[in-house]
Amino acid sequence: MAKVELKNVRKTYGNGAEAVKGVDMTIKHGEFIVYVGPSGCGKSTLLRMIAGLESVTEGDVLIDDTLINGVTPAERDVAMVFQNYALYPHMTVRGNMSYGLKNRGMNKKDIAGKVDEAAKMLRIFDFLDRQPHELSGGQRQRVAMGRAIVREPKVFLFDEPLSNLDAKLRVQMRIEIKRLQRRMDVTSIYVTHDQTEAMTLADRLAVINDGQIEQMGAPIELYNNPSTLFVASFIGSPQINLLPVHFDGHYLNTGNVQLNGFSNLPESTDLVLGIRPDDLRIDNNGALSLRVDLVEQHGADNLIYGEALGCGSSVENEPMEICLKAGQELIPDLETELSLAFDTNKAMIFERESGKRLV
């Protein structure tokens, strides 16, 4: 249980490449924080700086108000679960889980007690005497977690731990991790590129882009009120619909289509209108027209994809594709034209250039 603080943390590599460009955050004790972002955005680098596996070029990293910049990984009292588990191949499961405790001088009986307890919690008790290569991916994953748990560290660090598992296992493990963390009440930092994992696991979520935090807050907050175009398009599945628009003083124009109900927007700037697929509804008086191209039936819901007729497009000479989320009853034929409307206060307007949200 610990507080983690990052103050203007930067990471620059020898060749000049800047991976992390000034990150500030305060993580409260017991919080489950998720760093999410595309590949190469710097989220893993940030995590590894907290672990001590990467040096901090500038700025401070503090755990419980103690500066740990120069402290070696083993002395930081943090535990990490790696993407490819990083189990010691030559040791049994028990050996893997005991190693850290042995090095800290705990006596054999206590170690065995803790290992057994964690193993039961993770349902790997029966494998204690096996070696990693005899286990399946999911089992190895749990051993990696067990190794971290027995340490009872101040902070848990997870580096995309579920990426190498199959889809079904991923969902299962996600739930287990959340339950475990809640039960153990340990501050946790979790890195992933999967926005579903991010949304479901996080107490607070940090969307990272190109070495900087775009927005940090509760998941639902980021979903409902993204502060930038990047966050809006990253969070939410299916992805938010984005239409390039211009304001002429009265209406929002995109291609031949005019949209009502907007005011106080800059006039000669490129803007983007964002509206989520589930905020669109069928309405005969609707301003948008969708020509159905593809219907995905997901069971309870259907996703209907198609061209937004008459609308301007973000890509030259290509039709503007949008998506509508509807119930399972709606299964329109291809080429059908659906008339859509939306609530203006659900719509978001962004400045195209800066990505900043205006409305």
Binding site: A51, G52, L53, T72, P73, A74, E75, V78, A79, M80, F82, Q83, N84, Y85, A86, L87, Y88, P89, H90, Y99, G100, N103, Q131, P132, H133, R147, R151
Partner: protein
Amino acid sequence: MKRVQFQHSSIPYLFVAPQIIIIFVFFLWPAAQAIYQSFLLEDAFGLSSQFVWFRNYTDTILSASWLQAAGFTMVFSAIVTFLSLSIALLLAVKANQVIQGARTYKTTLMWAYAIAPPVAGLMGNLMFNPLIGDLYKFLNSIGWDFDHKLDSFDASFVVILIAVWKQVSVNFIFFLSGLQGIPNSVSEAAMMDCKSPIRRFWTITFPLLAPTTFFLMVINITYAFFETFGIIDTTTRGAPGGATNTLVFKVFQDGFRGADLGGSSAQSVVLMLIVLALTIVQFRFIERKVHY
């Protein structure tokens, strides 16, 4: 075996023929000859020979000079193996840790592989030369009454030093490659589990190098048994008094210099059996290597 193969009756034989023919003519036939000759005793003029069963074996194997050579060969192999492996391991670990200059270090530590044992032997010989050799003078100046022509310990020292020197490169290459084969994330996990780098090395790195180490041990022992012929032939020649005789050198000496074909062949056969034992050990343990 491959799932998909050709089904031709004569072509494979054609492909394999060159190697098999050479093996028969230059490997199996001479080996059979050696075995046969080991049972013979030739008279002084080489005119007639007598079948004497195992007398050559008992005569040679139980002779003081053979036992001396055998003893030296064992000790020599053990020391050379241990020293060249240890030095190479240390260098490989360190070379794996640096980033700047890594490539230069690698290159300069590796190239000695290309030097032939007799060449190394000659260089060493000249460096220990009483007239011009700096090493000779240096050792004498620090109080060691060094004379490798007379003192068997000194002679062994010279031969061992040169043999180790030459072998460090090969071991270095393999150890470095083995170290680089350990996944980064495993090393990082160890960094988080263990404060002391030395402890980390012995509990994680070294065990994971076990397959490489074992493989190298066999290579080194083979090297010490056989390839060091070149070193010995250009330095001590087994002197003084057979103290630095290895079994292989003795085969050569007795056979070509001493013209004792029977005895020399018997020694060859014994050596063959030793190689067989080594090979069995190697293959048995390599199976276990596919562990993790």
